[in-house]
């Protein structure tokens, strides 16, 4: 007891010392200095930050210490910059300049605060060990209800998810799978639109038959109130499992999902949530259309699930992401099921339960594979919902004032929520060069010496820290691209929330769409407008450089800033070319040792190159000419007693390259095995994720972005010209 008290006192003492240190640091950062001296100091600090961040990547005893020093020094430059901006540069000669100056400063303050909070949250991401229910007696295992809400997803997609859920490694008697169909409610069946009503009726028949066939509980309800949250809450009243797993319709769990999540809930009664990453089995529009590097570069959500959720977990504020999570029914029911004040019911529920003092756990192992939105339109729809929902939480729940949360939980939530206000800052950063270059507003009142002493080191330090914290899971400039892509649409959505926080309604993200042709996204118009504006600013800047030699220094800086925006906007065009996608399922790299066995039992050994639910490509040794059209793919997965045997048809044989493409036989008898082999093993996702999460240098990132930006811009021009030409021709033929 006395030891605990002593430890508590020591912690308090350390905290007090730390606060005193921070106060001293703030004071030091507040002390002004002339720009020449500041430049010298900033350069030295940047060198130390660079060296420390390099050291922090190596595994040794002082790794974390170097990480901390780099972080504090980098943040010191940021804080000093913001203080300098606030104290010395906010002057303007007219009201328009004053507005512009303050808008820019507020955007910088926002960026600074989110950066500081991001650094704090991700200072020491938590690494949890992998637990297994095998270490627990069967009697200790709680009953589990797997809830799969659906609205408009088709039966094929649902079948895969349901079959995968049925394969979960968990005592059968304690596991129940439920399909929560909100697309066939009485409200839908009795709607005035006859066609819609008929479709809902047919859907109900099809899905209930599917559930019956698979041994899954089918649920539907009268009304579609409160969307997904309402659907789950209504079902919670009809079920009684101690734990509740929520899976989106397209989220296919691996067999070990419950194996690695349930122990955390069994061992700690206060845990209300075990969240796992959403592993996306297909590229989102940015990854597909722009980088075409889905398997080579970190995915967009790798940063969130690979780093940020772990950081939040350290601060007991990792939150529910709507799917791929296990919740404790008892705690959930204390808040009346999933919360419904916002359209991000997941984060809101976690917030409510954290406020009650319950704990969350984040298990960083991809055990659910889902589908990312295929089109840019669907992507934007999804992001608008997230942004609106998080802003609703900010406005309705005010996490920064929630006394029930600890200070670090408040920071954790604010960090997650404030991120979604990025459209305000991003648009200001995009358009502010115009204010100076075109309208001659003095947006930045500083000399070149000041800019080099304060601004440049701050920007460099920010990038250095971002690289140190997120370098493996987010490549340089990728965040900027995503932000630009979303900012205009999300800004409009956010404005609606600010006008009326309760106005937004849940919109299901369209998934599983097929793209049969390459086309320009209908949302391109706004980016063309932005590009025109930035180009005008560029031209105005060049003229200003030529004709206004006295302001050439500042013009050069703003022009460089504008050029940066221009490159990003050009890059964005690449995403807006929606590329044709013929394959139903995205193929992911695989390297399983396999053999192809024909009906005579003759085997061709080799290894897989890629794999999807539809089929696979394999590098096969031996005489391929002897291959029959029907073969079986045989392999032995680690931990399985029986080998996997999947019947398949040969699609293509390439004797020169010794490659064979096969298509799996997915009839009722074999579909289960295919799902089990392709989607049932989390080690496959983990290996794939490890393969693509790797850091690159900043300059390589910039080069990469620039290099993939040129051809899409030409493609835009080509496709738009063709569209116009066709329109003209059609009009001519019509007349």
């Amino acid at each position: 007891m006395s030891q605990v008290r002593e430890s508590g006192v020591r912690s308090w003492g350390l905290s007090l010392l730390f606060v005193a240190g921070l106060s001293l640091l703030t004071f030091l950062l507040l002390i002004p200095m002339d720009s020449g001296s500041q430049l010298l100091a900033s350069m030295v600090i940047l060198i130390i930050v660079h060296l420390c961040s390099q050291e922090s990547k190596a595994y040794h005893r002082y790794q974390q210490w170097f990480r901390m020093v780099a972080m504090f020094l980098g943040l010191a430059l940021t804080v000093r910059y913001l203080m300098w901006r606030g104290l010395y540069t906010l002057t303007a000669v007219d009201i328009f300049s004053l507005i512009a100056v303050w808008l820019l400063f507020l955007a910088e303050i926002y960026a600074g605060i989110t950066h500081i909070m991001g650094c704090m949250v991700n200072a020491l991401p938590l690494s949890r060990p992998l637990k297994t229910i095998r270490d627990l007696p069967d009697s200790a295992l709680p009953t589990v209800d797997v809830l799969i809400p659906t609205y408009n997803e088709d039966a094929h997609l649902l079948e895969i998810t349901l079959r995968a859920a049925l394969m979960l490694d968990y005592p059968e008697s304690k596991l129940a799978i439920h399909l929560l169909d909100d697309g066939s409610t009485e409200q839908k069946i009795t709607q005035s639109d006859a066609q819609g009503a008929a479709a809902a009726k047919a859907r109900k028949a099809e899905l209930s038959a599917l559930c019956e066939r698979l041994g899954v509980h089918y649920h539907t309800r009268k009304l579609n109130h409160h969307a997904k949250a309402g659907n789950i809450n209504d079902t919670l009243l009809e079920t009684n499992g101690e734990l509740v797993v929520i899976l989106d319709a397209d989220h296919v769990p691996t067999r070990d999902f419950l194996d690695h999540t349930v122990p955390w809930l069994v061992e700690n009664e206060k845990v209300f949530l075990v969240q796992t990453p959403h592993f996306m089995a297909n590229p989102d529009p940015v990854e597909r259309n722009y980088f075409s590097a889905f398997s080579r570069m970190p995915s967009e959500n790798d940063m969130f699930y690979g780093t940020i959720q772990r950081g939040l977990d350290f601060w007991s504020s990792s939150f529910f992401c709507g799917s791929a999570a296990v919740l404790r029914r008892a705690h959930l029911m204390e808040v009346g099921g999933l919360s419904g004040d916002s359209i991000t019911e997941d984060a809101e529920t976690a917030f409510d339960l954290h406020a009650l003092g319950y704990e969350s756990v984040y298990v960083d192992r991809p055990m659910v594979s889902g589908l990312a939105p295929e089109t840019f339109d669907a992507f934007v729809t999804q992001r608008m919902r997230w942004a609106q929902g998080m802003t609703q939480i900010l406005l309705l729940k005010k996490p920064f004032m929630e006394r029930q949360l600890s200070w670090h939980q408040r920071i954790g939530y604010m960090s997650s929520i404030l991120f979604w206000l990025f459209p305000f800052a991003r648009i200001i950063f995009l358009l502010m060069p115009l204010a100076y270059l075109v309208f001659d507003l003095q947006v930045y009142h500083a000399s070149m010496a000041d800019i080099f002493a304060y601004t440049v080191p701050h920007v460099m330090a920010t990038y250095m820290l971002s690289t140190m914290l997120f370098g493996k899971t987010r490549w340089p400039l990728v965040s900027e691209l995503y932000e630009i892509l979303q900012c205009i649409f999300t800004l409009r959505a956010l404005m609606r929330v600010f006008r009326n926080p309760r106005a937004p309604s849940f919109v299901v993200t369209p998934k599983g769409e097929n793209l049969t042709r390459t086309f320009i996204s209908p949302l391109s118009g706004v980016f063309y407008s932005l590009l025109i504006l930035v180009t005008v600013a560029m031209a105005a800047g060049i003229l200003k450089m030529i004709y206004e030699p006295l302001t050439r220094e500042l013009t050069a800086v703003v022009l460089a800033w504008n050029c940066f925006n221009f490159i990003l906007l050009i890059s964005v065009l690449g995403v807006l070319v929606e590329r044709k996608q013929v394959r139903e399922q995205a193929r992911l790299p695989a390297n399983d040792e396999v053999s192809l066995v024909d009906a005579d039992g003759k085997a061709w050994p080799g290894h897989l190159m890629d794999l999807s639910l539809g089929g696979a490509r394999a590098q096969i040794a031996g005489d391929l000419s002897a291959l029959q059209s029907q073969v079986s793919l045989r392999t032995q997965r680690e931990g399985d007693i029986e080998p996997v045997l999947l019947p398949a048809s040969i699609l293509d044989v390439s004797p020169q390259r010794q490659q064979v493409r096969i298509q799996f036989n997915r009839d009722t008898q074999h579909i289960g095995n295919v799902i089990r082999f392709v989607l049932g093993d989390s080690r496959r996702w983990q290996s794939f994720q490890r393969r693509r999460t790797r850091p690159i240098s900043y300059w390589f990132g910039v080069k990469h972005v620039v290099s993939v930006s040129i051809s899409p811009a030409i493609q835009h021009f080509y496709l738009q010209s063709r569209r116009l030409w066709r329109k003209l021709r059609t009009a001519k033929e019509g007349t």
Partner: protein, 753 residues
Amino acid sequence: MAQRFFFLLVFIASVFQVQAQQTHTVRLSELYAGDSTLRLEGAMAEFDLSVPLAGGLEVEKATLDMRAVSSIALLKQRSVMAIRFNNATIFQQALDPQLPNFRPQVDIPAELWREGYNTLTFVVAQHYANQCVDNAAPELWSEIDLFRSVISVTTQPGSGPTVVGDISDMFNAGIGRQQAVTLYTSGNAEQGILSDALPVVAQALALRADYQQLAIKHDILSDVSEIPAPSVPWSEEQLAELARSSHYLTEQDSGKLHVLVGTVSSLRENLSEQTYNQISGAYLGVETTPAIEVDDEIRVPASHRLIVSGTNSEQVMLAAKALALMDDGLNQDASVVVDDVRASSDDALLKADTLTPGESYSLADMGDGGAEYRGETSTTKRIQFSLPADFYVPENASVTLLLNFAYGAAFGQGSMMNVLINGELVHGLPLTNPYGESFSQYQLNVPARHLKGGTNAIEFDVAMRAPITDVVCDDVVGRHLHFQLLPSSRIELPKAGHVARQPDLTLFADAAYPMATVSGQSADIYITEEAMRGAALTLSGKLAQTVNTLIPDLHIVSGVPETTTDTAFVLMTPQTVPNGYAEPFSANLANTKQWPYRIQNLLHNRLRDASEERKPGFIMHGATVQQSTLGNMGVLVAQKNPQGQRTGTVFMMAAENAELLADRMQDLTSPAIWGQLAGDFVAWDNSEQPELVMQVADVYVVGEFEDSWLQTRMWLSNHPWIWLMALVIVVIVCAALALLLLRRRNKKIQENW
């Protein structure tokens, strides 16, 4: 004997002739701040040069010896150079391409001269053809070598000062002015007279010389008995008359105005009864001393003197102060008794001529009437103003110019206005609107770092060009061109702190800082030998000229006490270097010299820009210690004062002996040396060019730190490594504490697993 007497008469006559009639020679380049070559270009060009003439002189004869060269492409019949003096044409000559170099000797009629500023105008009309001459043709040029062109003026002294107001005539900046003056005190003068009143009188006289050099000497009134008696001993009457004469004058001072300073009792012997009786309070008077003639021989010539006196030291001080502050034009009496001098405060004197940071001033407020230009010309309007010497603003502070100006219709290509602050171009505007334009409150925001403590200048370069018609031989004469800069134009100064980096001889030369500060703190001049008082007076006069007003708290103290004023100026020789002024300094001026390597390293470079000295890598540290003299050199060193109570700067000037020190002080106060002071170490041995200008010691900060934030800023700006080290240390501690706390939390979390 007769032969000896004859030679004596001839000598005396020649001396008086020389003294009576003087010829002054001035290079034209001394009258012009620009380049020493004046180039006149275009079909017609004109240039005015101001030629000042001191007051109280009669010009007997004046000659301009001019060196010029003109283009060999000119057409002789249509190319002429004319010279005008006060608008009267005194010379003209065809510009002959066969004789491009010419050296006219031009007589300037004596009757054209007037006291004060005279205008010498050079006009050229240049053509290379009889018609269709392109005004901008490059072959249309003539040059005048201002350095080798000289004006010789022979003057006859006037009647001398008859009223107190006439003394400014004697010292006014101009040809024939008095360049040296001696202040006399009695042998038993009170200390207050020597230390307080004399520097004020010296400043008063120097201020009348404007920016021109004025050598001030000090001497003791000699006793009459020291004058050798004539063939028969002096009678009582003769001795009394002799005492009232200027018998004490040296040959050098003969014929010049000199000054008696002292209480009436101390000067009693040298004053006439009438003057003595007039001195009932603080007294200022001019008088002509009687000539003493014995046996038809002028033993003591008549002379003019200014008397600054009173019944006690305070009154003498009051009289001296009145002399420094009074307007000469108002004093038309031979003597004045000053009852009082009222000023709101002493520092008001310094502030009066200085713009206050944070305030806004129109050109009219600064005593400038704006500018108006007509015709095709390129000209510069220069507006000078003073800022506090310790003017200090952050890097991002701005000064705002709100200009009211206009230009008329039909300006041609190439017409423009450039704005420069302290020589740096900050704005340019083409004057291109064919209908003309009028600007009100045309706003320019310029970084305040362009301004500096001391004298600043804003220049408006205006070029007015006639439009080009594109028709051959149809040039538009640009007489219609019209530009106005209105006196209502304003300058808005940013708020500033009173902080300065020291030691900085540039700031010292520009603004007499920190010898003269608005806080009015005493900054004394210390002399280590009595013979140095003249040099100290010359310096005090120069300092007053620098700030353009009286520095009331400037005292000259004999000897160097243990505690000096925070800012101090010490005059010394290697033999008289006071205790404590040798060891603490990087340069030791005592008999055993210590020269820092920095000086040694760069001796071969001669004159260097002091600001370059901060470049690292080229400087060896250390010192050489040697037994040597200063030779003919004067050395001025500025360093942190070890003897002041608070942080201040001590300026130490040394020469090998007091006599050399006086000479070097005269050199120091010459525009050439004074204008090139920089860094903290200057050595020189003539009045033309310093031997060495260096930054030797580390810089530090002084000022009125009412704003401690500003003080910190300055200090840290000089010591960024300290800030950096403090930051890194605090960050390391914070990072270690943060890591400790994070690890504790991590451990706590793991305990629950």
